[in-house]
């Protein structure tokens, strides 16, 4: 094989179960959860890599990898089917010294150091596959090089009252980090870690090996690697990112991120040619909107047939909303039928669902109501009522 050194290799942590998404991650890993009509969560990080000029991406999978593996395939939709490099799925494997599941984020990378070594990169970019954002990693890499850092951590300003949910970086004026506190009770900074790290490869490998040798370590970047590096006085910098960024790890944040696509000035705009988000598509017909349909303030994908009413909603491919059906404030992920006269309000409906004629899912979105969630392939019989906040799965 022709060998070409890569300056930077990305390692995408996609093994998380996403247990707080409940029914939505029963059969699929969180990065493969659908988002924004035609995308999956992982499309954002993969597209960011490609748009930033990174063409070698290892995707570390562990939990329910089948859908994710099939989805990524040879990487063609993201232009990651490269002759050397490209996208590679990296599941846990059996080696000469035994086999192990990925014990933590750091251990997952440790187990794949030989993958990284193949490309002889100077830098390693660590990403997680569960955030929605558009970011140029190349700018971050420039920052990292200019600062002469050993490790650069991307940070975003969060409201001080929310800071205790994040890993918080306390920085000096030049951006160097002097303190890292994981979910601090009394945060002294609003710079939250986005879980995006650039390491000098040699330095990373050195710390991964040391961390692996420590039986007390939980082999995690946030808990072990970063604090240890800080403690040892390595050069660590915070790279400030401004723009849309959302952790979609919970039902409500996933719903909110979908709603951020709507409105005349959406918080997250996916239209246009620049920084396009790529996804694997099936060959669907264009959408059809029927003669008595009403579609307002919504995001609708190819393959849909809308005969009823859809308002303030995000609708994935192949959804049928029949005559007299009413959908509002909801996320329909795809290949779902909302039968005549059914009502879906303030809900997230996974793929392959049938909502029978006259059935009701969720309720008006007001202060007290919670989001109703219907998992993959659930069949809601005609006339049935699914309460707000319900969590149905097959």
């Amino acid at each position: 094989m022709i060998f070409r050194k890569k300056e930077c290799v990305a390692m995408l942590l996609a093994g998380g179960q996403g247990s707080r998404l409940y029914a939505l991650t029963k059969k699929t890993a969180k990065p493969a959860v659908r988002f924004g009509g035609k995308y999956r969560i992982i499309d954002f990080t993969l597209s960011n890599c490609v748009n930033s000029g990174i063409d070698t991406v290892g995707v570390l999978t562990q939990y329910q990898p089948l859908v994710l593996n099939e989805y990524i395939g040879n990487g063609f939709p993201w232009d990651l089917d490269r002759a050397f490099g490209g996208v590679m799925i990296l599941p846990p494997y059996q080696g000469q010294n035994g086999a192990d599941w990925y014990k933590g984020t750091a251990n997952a990378i440790y187990q794949n150091m030989t993958f990284i070594d193949r490309y002889d990169p100077d830098y390693v970019l660590i990403l997680s596959g569960d955030h929605i954002y558009k970011m140029d990693y190349d700018k971050m890499l420039d920052f990292h090089k200019k600062k002469g850092a050993d490790c650069t951590i991307a940070v975003i300003d969060v409201p001080i009252e929310e800071a205790s949910r994040f890993g918080i970086m306390s920085t000096n004026e030049d951006g160097s980090i002097w303190k890292f506190s994981e979910k601090p009770k009394n945060p002294d900074s609003t710079k939250a870690s986005m879980g995006i790290y650039i390491f000098n490869r040699k330095k990373l490998e050195e710390y991964l090996i040391a961390d692996e040798a420590d039986p007390a370590s939980s082999n995690d970047f946030g808990k072990n690697i970063i604090p240890t590096m800080l403690q040892k006085g390595e050069k660590m910098f915070a790279y400030p990112f401004s723009g849309y960024w959302k952790d979609v790890g919970t039902i409500s944040s996933l719903w909110e991120a979908n709603m951020d696509l709507l409105g005349s000035k959406p918080a997250l705009d996916l239209s246009g040619e620049d920084w396009r988000i790529f996804a694997r598509h099936s060959a669907d017909a264009p959408q059809y909107v029927g003669s008595r349909a009403r579609v307002e303030n919504s995001y609708i994908t190819e393959g849909c047939e809308i005969y009823g009413t859809v308002k303030n909603s995000v609708v994935g491919p192949g959804v049928k909303v029949m005559y007299g059906a009413f959908v509002e404030d909801s996320v329909l992920m795809g290949d779902t039928v909302i039968e005549a006269g059914a009502t879906v309000k303030y809900s997230i409906i996974d793929t392959g669902v049938t909502v029978g004629a006259g059935a009701t899912v969720g309720a008006d979105r007001d202060a007290g109501a919670a989001i109703a969630v219907v998992g993959e392939d659930v069949n809601i019989t005609a006339g049935a009522v699914v309460e707000p906040g319900a969590m149905l799965s097959e």
Partner: protein, 376 residues
């Protein structure tokens, strides 16, 4: 499968001069996200054909751009895949652009002779249907025919023909007894759909014979004579599914508007295991804004709709401004309409800009066409 495909990309360019000014018939946009060749290519791929020759003579930039390496049709193959057959014209001036179907076929003689498949499917790009070619091929092989013509019974009055079509009569066994090129104006006729299955050895001998005799017209000099003399086994396969044929701008408009019927969408797009494949553009989903009113329309992804759209077809990336009313229109890729415009029976090519407040109206039998990139 023991069959290869051969597609004629240019043959009907003249019947649709408005849309083929900047492209050939094969890459004429249709149905929101497709090009006409997609229907033919998908029929081939869905029937297991993995080697397709595409004969093209001129104006093929947009076709090449559309096809790429064939990946979107699963035709990026080491063995087979898409084989483009451009004209044989040398720098020294030898050769000329083929001007007839017969010359087109002769220009592809290397492809035809180098195939090792027993059968070839020959198809033009002026038909829109979802046809199970493997059934046609099976019928062809079973009957031992030299050529099987796919035919369709149509009402000639709704055809909007600008050129003659093959009108076919067959006996009860499907053997063709009459094949006449003409322009029927009314009544039900069984017309040749410009899709045929031919036994490759027969095609090679027929072509070398035609070349030796200096024939110029495939239908008049070859097919009509063979049918009259009964020297070969020609059969008709009557296709019964949904079908549209494009042979003029009115015909194009009419065929497009048929997509607004359930029957057409079911017959074309909702056939199990037979998707219509096309180039993926990675547009975001379509955004219906507050105050948008869309009814009875086919809409591709990537549109932003603020105004009113009725009975229309919107291609990818179309923008309909606030207060604008679009009725009975076909707006192609990236057409931009400002606010408070009114459009009725308009066909816009790609990248057309309709400024604020413009008011344009054609009628169903005479839609107004606005060329690529024009500002109104």
């Amino acid at each position: 499968m023991n069959v290869a495909g051969l597609i004629f990309a240019n043959i009907h360019d003249r019947s649709l001069p408005e849309l083929t000014q900047v492209r050939n018939m094969a890459s004429v946009p249709f149905g929101g996200r497709y090009r006409l060749i997609d229907f033919t290519l998908s029929n081939m791929v869905n029937s297991g054909i993995t080697k397709v020759g595409i004969i093209t003579h001129y104006n093929y930039q947009s076709l090449l751009d559309h096809l790429g390496n064939g990946k979107d049709w699963d035709l990026a193959r080491r063995e087979g895949g898409i084989k483009l057959i451009p004209p044989n014209v040398s720098a020294a001036g030898a050769g000329h652009l083929p001007s007839s179907r017969l010359e087109s076929m002769l220009s592809a003689i290397d492809f035809i002779t180098h195939c090792n498949e027993d059968y070839l499917v020959l198809s033009d790009c002026d038909i829109i249907c979802n046809l199970d070619l493997s059934d046609v091929i099976a019928a062809h092989a079973a009957s031992g025919a030299d050529v099987t013509f796919v035919t369709k019974r149509v009402d000639a009055s709704g055809m909007y023909l600008s050129e003659s079509v093959g009108c076919v009569k067959a006996d009860e066994n499907g053997r063709i007894t009459e094949f006449v090129m003409k322009r029927p104006t009314d009544g039900v006729v069984n017309i040749y759909t410009n899709i045929m299955v031919v036994t490759r050895e027969y095609l090679i001998s027929m072509l070398s014979d035609a070349a030796a005799r200096g024939y110029t017209s495939f239908f008049h000099d070859v097919i009509a004579h063979v049918v009259a003399d009964g020297t070969a086994n020609y059969r008709a396969y009557e296709y019964e599914g949904w079908y549209a044929y494009v042979s003029s701008l009115e015909g194009y408009f009419n065929a497009s508007m048929k997509l607004l019927t359930q029957e057409a969408r079911d017959g074309l797009f909702a056939v199990a295991n037979r998707p219509v494949l096309t180039k993926v553009r990675n547009s975001s989903p379509t955004k219906y804004c507050e105050g948008a009113k869309v009814t009875d329309s086919v809409v591709a992804d990537g549109c932003i709709i603020e105004g009113t759209v009725e009975n229309s077809i919107l291609f990818r990336g179309v923008k309909v401004g606030r207060g604008t009313v679009v009725k009975n229109c076909i707006l192609m890729q990236d057409t931009y309409t400002g606010s408070d415009a009114e459009l009725n029976c308009i066909v816009t090519d790609k990248n057309v800009v309709i400024r604020d407040g413009r008011c344009l109206s054609g009628c169903e039998t005479m839609p107004i066409f606005i060329g690529k990139g024009r500002y109104v």
